[in-house]
């Protein structure tokens, strides 16, 4: 018998790093007062319940793909990297109107990235952290060189505009991170998981409109997500006191604050900056974390070298988190 052939394996760099960040939001600003003209709600009620002051809605003919392209271009410009250097594009989202084709391939083509590996990833509002985890591991395994991860959502297509529980919360936008190899670790291991037994708490079934059990989701998020964030720190060899910037998925400002409070009870510093981008962006699902990161870098509240802790959570239920160094 002849010798069986052996397969060659490949190995990437030991670490990965976020090289650049970019985002895009539609121009149209929708205030709470605007919403109170079309449904029974008011500015104070919305601020008290969810912390949102205004949000952005895409135009009818402005698509998820359009927004993803712009965010991706901005991330490449931020990193100073040419599209030709990118070999993989991941678009976490849960509101692509068609299952086929996916968003990623056409987004890549329009950015000018030639023939990359391209796929969408649906882990709802946890999608961006899932995407960063996958990108980091693809690079470290040698399967990819530079990965563009773009969380993009057009949630206004999936919300009943007269449903005052959800229409006040969800919005549109896209945020992107370019990830590449590094000799040192710039992205910690992802911790992820799911609770499929709680699938009925958030879904889009009838007419593709979002439904959620607000109270139950609130309880889950305010009690179960901080431990995931702590686990992400532990995996990266960090302590809560090391965190400079906390970016939970921008679901509801009260959930964000509850997570921050639990982390501070475990040693996170009072000076830790906590993302509150939901106030002017609404809940943009898989786009919320990179949108917040980009806005915070531009505002100077997240600085190069800062230890950032990101944690996403949402329908599935699904969750994921990791620590990374702010580019």
């Amino acid at each position: 018998m002849t010798d069986r052939p052996t397969l060659r394996q490949q190995q990437g760099p030991t670490g990965s790093r976020i090289l650049g960040v970019g985002s895009f939001q539609p121009e149209r600003i929708v205030t709470n007062d605007d919403l109170s003209k079309i449904m029974e709600t008011d500015d104070q009620w919305i601020r008290d319940r969810v912390g949102i002051i205004e949000r952005r809605f895409a135009d009818k003919d402005e698509s998820l793909v359009d927004m993803a392209v712009k965010a991706g271009v901005n991330a490449l410009a931020d990193a100073g990297v040419d599209p030709s250097e990118v070999d993989t594009v991941i678009v976490p989202n849960c509101t692509m109107p068609s299952l086929i084709p996916n968003a990623a391939a056409q987004v890549a083509d329009r950015i000018g990235i030639k023939a990359p590996g391209a796929f969408d990833l649906n882990a709802a509002c946890a999608g961006f952290c899932y995407g960063v985890g996958v990108a980091s591991d693809l690079i470290r395994a040698g399967s990819a060189g530079k990965v563009l991860v773009i969380g993009a959502e057009k949630l206004t297509d999936s919300v009943d505009p007269t449903d005052r529980a959800n229409a006040i919360i969800f919005a549109d936008g896209a945020g992107a991170a370019l990830i590449g190899g590094s000799d040192t670790a710039g992205i910690g291991p992802v911790t992820w998981g799911s609770a499929g037994d709680l699938v009925d708490l958030i879904h889009m079934r009838e007419q593709r409109y979002i439904y959620q059990e607000g109270q139950a989701v609130f309880r889950w998020a305010t009690t179960q997500i901080a431990p995931i964030a702590l686990r992400a720190l532990e995996l990266a060899g960090l302590s809560p006191s090391d965190v400079d910037v906390l970016i939970p998925h921008q679901a509801n400002l009260r959930i964000v604050e509850a997570i921050a409070k639990r982390l501070r009870a475990k040693g996170a510093r009072e000076e830790m900056v906590v993302a509150d981008d939901i106030r002017y962006s609404g809940n943009t699902s898989s786009a919320s974390i990179p949108l917040a990161l980009d806005h915070m870098r531009k505002a100077g509240t997240a600085k190069p070298g800062d230890v950032v802790l990101a944690v996403g959570f949402g329908a599935g239920l699904s969750y994921a988190g990791q620590a990374f160094i702010c580019p």
Partner: protein, 96 residues
């Protein structure tokens, strides 16, 4: 913290509470979560109508009460707790 240790910890700190102690404990929680003065948290008060506490704050109060008293307050039970007195009675009846 493993569930077993957590339970022992609670039982040590809160052996058996009478209704006055439960009320005082709840008042502390309500003040912390919703900023209502402890003296205003009396048995006959309605959480929603008198104390102006919304449904999400009720969840936060329930979660903290669970930790403090070692009881379970599921969302469907929570919906029935209209007054502070209802909550005191629920905790009292479900204490181990």
């Amino acid at each position: 913290m493993p569930a077993g240790i957590d339970r022992e910890h609670r039982e040590r700190e809160h052996p058996v509470a009478d209704n006055a102690e439960i009320l005082a404990g709840l008042a502390e929680i309500v003040e912390e979560v919703a900023g209502v003065a402890q003296d205003d948290v009396t048995a006959e008060k309605s959480f929603v109508d008198d104390l102006d506490i919304d449904s999400l704050s009720m969840v936060e109060i329930a979660v903290q009460a669970e930790d403090k008293f070692g009881v379970k307050i599921p969302d469907d039970e929570l919906a029935n707790l209209k007054t502070v007195g209802d909550a005191v009675n629920y905790v009292s009846a479900n204490l181990k």
